[in-house]
């Protein structure tokens, strides 16, 4: 199957992409790059970022459509239900797309693009990057939207088994449709320090946004206690956010100005230089579907101490991470255990192990299998799809059916106003390495 399957033409859709930065953004970018290397055609669709609007080509000829759509809340576009249909349809036809891959449950552009692609009969795949609860109003609403999108999905991907359980519960999708394909880390970017740090002074690194969900309040309790128990310990805290003031106050209250260093916001290009200056990486998140930061730290050779939340226990083997309950006392005990384990840790060996455990090439191969599985699923028309929406709820089901019927009529209208045969298709440049190969062939001919 691997390598012998047909080449796919994939459209990645999300509100989150470079120049914005985060886990979803880097996931889409690295996955796209590795799929290009496997010979597939990949196009990314996102909304405009400031002046960046229109079509851009990034590394290896990855084409990005920055649709002229303004974000209105946390980089999310305004939910318009159908206004994105014309441009989504045009891009899909121009690029001769075969699979539409949406990312992140919180992305409105993703949900709308998947809905339109299904209406047009294309295969759709969805990747969920976050965990959501069940009790608060925001989560209830978000789960209903997810149920609508996944009612008619071909395949779904989650980044951890805990995330898969969460998504299955929230949306009611069949577990067999959900693949567990984790995030990965670019081990070439995160290498250990050439010179091994001595253990005369133990440096604990924290790199995360300083917000409630990342457990900044937990840090405020843990750092003074660790500094009190272990005189050799120093902290480096990278990141900014509303809770930064609390950490500054903690430093002054316990007179830790010389032992706790606050760096502020750290550009991603400098994260490695921060990580390799430490021995231990501390993650205090209260909820994580996966936590790429732990992978980055392990790739730099750091031993990790983390809260046992969400998908974190699945991320690393037990000898590379020390897990603790999200309570100050347990966190301090975990830090103590990590300090005891430190003499047996070799950063270079840890880095080599990370190379084997995670790679984006492996993620791309597994995602390719998901695309193959999606292509095998039967093609359905509107009448076959409506019963799937009816099962979403006694009232929501009928509302969803109505939305899809209107969407279908809109599609027919667009077909009438602007027939598909009239839309100019983009010529294939082909992968750059193939292009170079053909150039060599021409040279040989000469």
């Amino acid at each position: 199957m691997d390598g012998q399957g047909t080449k796919h033409r994939i459209l990645m859709v999300s509100d989150f992409f470079f120049p914005n930065f985060g886990g979803v953004e880097s996931h889409i970018y690295y996955l796209s790059q590795c799929l290009l290397k496997l010979g597939h055609k990949v196009v990314v669709m996102t909304h405009a970022y400031g002046n960046r609007s229109g079509v851009r080509y990034v590394t290896n000829g990855l084409k990005v459509y920055y649709v002229p759509w303004r974000p209105f809340l946390m980089q999310n576009t305004l939910p318009t239900l159908s206004l994105t249909f014309p441009i989504v349809r045009t891009i899909i036809i121009r690029e001769k797309i075969s699979v539409v891959h949406g990312h992140q449950a919180f992305s409105t552009l993703c949900h709308e693009a998947l809905m339109h692609a299904r209406t047009m009969g294309y295969k759709v795949v969805f990747t969920d990057h976050s965990l959501y609860g069940f009790a608060d109003a925001g989560s209830i609403h978000m789960n209903k939207v997810l149920q609508f999108t996944l009612a008619d999905i071909d395949q779904a991907i989650c980044v951890s088994h805990t995330s898969k359980e969460n998504t299955v519960l929230r949306s009611g999708i069949s577990p067999e449709k959900v693949f567990m394909v984790p995030n990965a880390v670019d081990t070439a970017m995160f290498t250990p320090s050439p010179k091994r740090l001595n253990c005369d002074e133990i440096v604990i690194v924290v790199v995360s946004r300083l917000v409630y969900r990342k457990g900044a309040d937990l840090l405020v309790e843990v750092i003074p206690e660790v500094c009190r128990l272990f005189p050799k310990v120093h902290f480096i805290v990278g990141g900014d956010g509303p809770k930064r003031v609390r950490l500054e106050e903690m430093r002054e209250k316990f007179s830790l100005q010389d032992r706790v260093e606050m760096l502020g916001a750290v550009p991603h290009a400098q994260v490695r230089s921060v990580l390799i200056s430490g021995h231990i990486f501390l993650n205090s998140s209260l909820t994580e579907a996966f936590c790429i930061a732990i992978l980055e730290a392990a790739s730099c050779g750091l031993l990790t101490v983390s809260t046992r939340v969400g998908g974190v226990p699945e991320v690393l083997p037990d000898d590379m991470i020390v897990l603790a309950e999200p309570a100050p006392g347990d966190m301090v005990r975990a830090v103590k255990k990590a300090i005891d384990m430190l003499p047996g840790i070799d950063p270079q060996i840890m880095h080599l192990r990370m190379k084997e455990l995670y790679s984006w090439d492996d993620v791309a191969k597994r995602t390719e299998i998901v695309y193959d599985r999606a292509m095998e699923s039967p093609t359905t028309n509107l009448l076959d799809r409506l019963p799937r929406y009816l099962t979403c709820g006694s009232w929501a089901g009928k509302l969803f059916c109505l939305v899809m019927i209107i969407n279908y009529l809109l599609w027919r209208l667009l077909e009438f106003l602007q027939p598909a045969v009239g839309i100019e298709e983009v010529p294939d440049i082909g992968p750059l390495h193939a292009h170079l190969g053909s150039r060599n062939d021409e040279a040989q001919e000469k």
Binding site: Y132, E165, V168, M180, D217, E221, T307
Partner: protein, 302 residues
């Protein structure tokens, strides 16, 4: 073929719920075994409730409804000039003494310093109120009476809806936890309603007396009832039922419609709502699992 398949199955390594190490050999990425949703917990926080206990717990709400009904009755009688200012002042003094007495009985730490502090605070409070009485007297002269009544009733409803029935807004000295925002809004609504009603009385002394009465009840009645309940629950029940009897008899003499509404409310709160709560509990559906956001076990002090 069958036996060889069996052998192959036996030779496969066990599937592990981990994300590292790539795709596990012999298993697809969408493999789902029996441990799926194993850690899901349903209705972990659901408490089995007994009808009698819920009814007993609802007595606090009925009690406070009666207190408010008595206050409204007093307002009405005063506005109708059935109660003169000297009687009202005697009632104020009586309530103050009874309240102090109950507080002393139910609160263990007693000291002369604390008592002196209380007396001083009360004196300052009463003096300030007396000085402000002329302002209250003329506050709403230019507003029509039906607007006043509508506003007062609305504010009392806000007070009842947002009231903190499980504690009291005025905390005993040294108590933890600050009062909630809704509790503060509730208290302010009742005080504003009192001012509106007081502004319709004919003389300054009347205004002072009714304001003192209202503030005594709205500010300190929840504290007193809270202390009584904590001190002796049976006494709390006795006091509540006595209060209900007094409230019903007073309202019966005052206004039949008011009496009917109060009786219906008491029946609704004491009997219908507890039964309704227990009946509706079977629809409770709560999911917990490892995907939930962790709760911090300590208070965040900003």
């Amino acid at each position: 073929m069958k036996s060889s398949d069996g052998n192959q199955i036996k030779l496969q390594p066990m599937w592990r719920k981990v994300a590292y190490g790539g795709r596990q050999s012999g298993y697809d990425d969408n493999y789902t075994d029996e441990s799926f949703l194993e850690e899901m917990v349903m209705n972990a926080n659901v408490v089995k409730r007994d009808l009698l206990k819920v009814m007993i717990d609802s007595v606090s709400i009925s009690q406070y409804l009666c207190i408010v009904a008595l206050v409204v009755s007093t307002w009405t009688l005063t506005l109708n000039l059935d109660i003169d200012e000297s009687t009202l002042l005697k009632l104020d003094v009586g309530l103050l003494l009874v309240g102090f007495w109950v507080l002393l009985l139910t609160t263990c730490p007693f000291s002369l310093k604390l008592l002196t502090k209380y007396v001083l605070n009360i004196s300052f409070f009463i003096s300030g109120l007396y000085v402000l009485a002329p302002i209250y007297h003329t506050l709403t002269r230019s507003i029509s009476s039906d607007s006043i009544w509508a506003l007062a009733v609305s504010l009392l409803l806000v007070h009842l809806f947002l009231h903190d029935y499980s504690g009291s807004t005025i905390r005993p000295p040294g108590a933890l936890n600050n009062p909630k925002l809704t509790s503060n809004i509730s208290l302010n609504a009742s005080i504003v309603a009192s001012v509106l009603v007081a502004s319709r009385l004919p003389s300054r002394l009347h205004v002072f007396a009714i304001m003192l009465f209202s503030l005594q009840v709205f500010l300190f009645a929840p504290l007193i009832t809270f202390c009584v309940k904590k001190y002796h629950f049976r006494l709390h029940l006795l006091f509540s039922f006595t209060l209900m009897a007094v409230a019903l008899s007073v309202t019966y003499q005052l206004h039949r419609m008011f009496f009917t509404v109060l009786l219906a409310l008491l029946v609704f709160v004491s009997i219908v709502c507890p039964y309704w709560l227990i009946r509706i509990q079977e629809y409770k559906f709560e999911i917990n699992g490892p995907w939930d956001e962790a709760k911090l076990c300590f208070d965040i002090t900003e």
